[in-house]
Amino acid sequence: MLQRVDPATLATDRTRSRAEPIAFAIMVALLVIAPFFAYPQFLMQALCFALFACAFNLLIGYGGLLSFGHALYFGWASYIAAHLAKVGAISFPVWYWSHAWIWVTIPLPPLSPELAILGGMLAGALLGLIAGSLAIRRQGIYFAMITLALAQMMYFFALQAKFTGGEDGIQGVPRGKLFGLVDLTGQTSMYVTTLVIFLAGFLLIYRIIHSPFGEVLKAIRENEARAISLGYKTDRYKLVAFVLSATLAGLAGATKAIVLQIASLTDVNWPMSGEVVLMALVGGLGTVFGPVAGAFFIVTMQNYLAQAGQWVIVIQGVIFVACVLLFRRGIIGELANVLRIRL
């Protein structure tokens, strides 16, 4: 049997570029001063989508797995977080041994925002584990179709389930007090919280990408058969990547529910899955900063074109086509190419 090569020894200094810390510092500086120039509400929304796009990019950019159903984790996490923050009590049917369903209720009070977000994140992780273990059974194009179909199934559940409020969604979600201390109703405290959550998620993804695990993931993306022949159980790596991505997408969705104080069907429906693909694509698939740039680009566009109605969708379609045909590297990818650095 061949000796398994320790991926840590493969990850040479070349994979870590000096440009990345500088770019990170620039990004943090921009995000700190941004509230003085733009509406905090808009920035917080963009930050949630940026984290969502980064989580999605972990799968496609580094594992080569195109999930076309990421709205599932984002949307359901936002429902769970909104429910926990507003109502708290959880009831679910249990199969009782004497041939009957009984409803079991866990009487929880409305939870504080950090616990609500944690709950949403866990929901994302659990759903990611279930959907991921089904989807990784097929490769390539089938993987995309399976994730899309599973997301659509859960969209129908969200449409029918009582607690989601159907077409109305869950409205008026209280922002509450963080750890029972910091009042989040003010925009400043909410912005700082959102920024901290975003940066924590971003740094975690950065760490994953540059870890030995991330290197194996890239190997699977480049040549799965070879990775298998080197002794890696690629299915396990793919599943772990999928669950991590779904968890972070859940973190983004749960945060969005607290920030915008609403969870609705828009967040679980398939156009949202398409939107996050577009954000990552516009910014640059497989770049660290690309999804952030892409998310800000798309959210800005949606805000400016809010009056244009259906034309927003047409423009998104045009951007899709243009990106695939002309700018497959995306904004950040092209920039990195011009500057000859890694971003």
């Binding site: 390539g140 398939w270 693909v277 259906q310 086509v321």
Partner: protein, 299 residues
């Protein structure tokens, strides 16, 4: 209750047969659409996300023909697939042909973009509500079969789509033209070396697959209303159908399409809440038991 009516699990055979027929009709559309997807994927290695939008365009073409030109259903049944098919070939020449050397995923992303553009434009001009399309007069009415009432139009849809599916299967599997197609799917370089114009074949194949979608759209127009989003909901179900059947076999797509339509119809009788999700649940079960799909080959 009249003669010939019986009950199964407390449900009258009447209700059961009506839902079965509705299931067969949905199954016809699943079969036609997944057949088109399979043919396109075989030649182009692209999953055509715009398939739902092209189905919708077929229905709208029929609507336009009746509304503005005064040409009825039978003309639309030929004109709409040809028009939308030609549009498909233009799309292939303009956009898709640049993607064949790239990862399959880019084809999915590009056609998704095209679907957004087409659907968005139609929504802009026709809103989200459905427009009615009149049934052809020769197919109104129905037959009383004693145990159930069979509307003529629905019987026509099932029979005609079965005919189209089987003809497609025959052409691809049993004729010389089909053998070129299958050979080009296996090894395009070699087929080109034999002097066959493969790029033109690819264009025509895409046009044909798209025309099948448009044909399904025309047939759907009198049953469901004509609306801009009629395709996008359907295409995701068809993707699940394709995952269940696997795209390796033409007959597999046809059987899976009709079969799942029937199962969906039966679910509407016995457990209506699950009727919108049953196909996805079956997909999950198939993935657990036979990951390659019912008729698929392990890639």
């Amino acid at each position: 209750m009249g003669a010939g009516v019986f009950e199964i699990f407390g449900i009258s055979s009447q209700a059961l047969l009506v839902q079965l027929l509705l299931g067969l009709i949905n199954g016809s559309f699943y079969a036609l659409l997944s057949l088109g997807l399979a043919v396109i994927f075989g030649m182009l290695n692209i999953i055509n996300f715009a398939h739902g939008a092209q189905y919708m365009m077929g229905a709208f073409t029929a609507f336009f023909l009746l509304q503005y030109v005064g040409l009825g259903y039978w003309v639309a049944l030929i004109v709409a697939p040809v028009t939308v098919g030609i549009l498909g070939m233009v799309i292939e020449r303009l956009f898709l042909q640049w993607l064949y050397t790239l990862d399959h995923l880019y084809g999915l992303l590009l056609t998704f973009g095209l679907a957004l553009i087409i659907e968005g434009v139609f929504r802009n001009y026709f809103g989200a509500s459905g427009l009615p399309y009149q049934m052809p007069e020769s197919l109104t009415g129905g037959q009383n079969l004693g145990f159930m009432y069979l509307p003529n139009y629905r019987a026509w849809v099932v029979v005609f789509s079965l005919f189209v599916c089987l003809t497609t299967w025959f052409v691809i599997e049993r004729t010389k033209l089909g053998s070129y197609l299958r050979a080009a799917t296996e090894n395009p370089t070699l087929v080109r070396a034999f002097g066959i114009n493969v790029p033109r074949m690819i264009t025509l194949t895409y046009g044909f697959g798209v025309a099948l979608a448009a044909l399904a759209g025309v047939m759907a127009a009198p049953i469901y209303n004509v609306s801009p989003q009629m395709g996008s909901d359907l295409i995701i179900v068809v993707f699940a159908v394709v995952v269940i059947g696997g795209m390796g076999s033409i007959m597999g797509s046809i059987v899976t399409g009709f079969g799942l339509g029937i199962i969906e119809g039966l679910t509407k009788v016995f457990f209506p809440e699950a009727s919108s999700t049953v196909i996805f649940v079956i997909m999950a079960i198939v993935l657990l038991i036979r990951p390659a799909g019912l008729f698929g080959r392990r890639a």
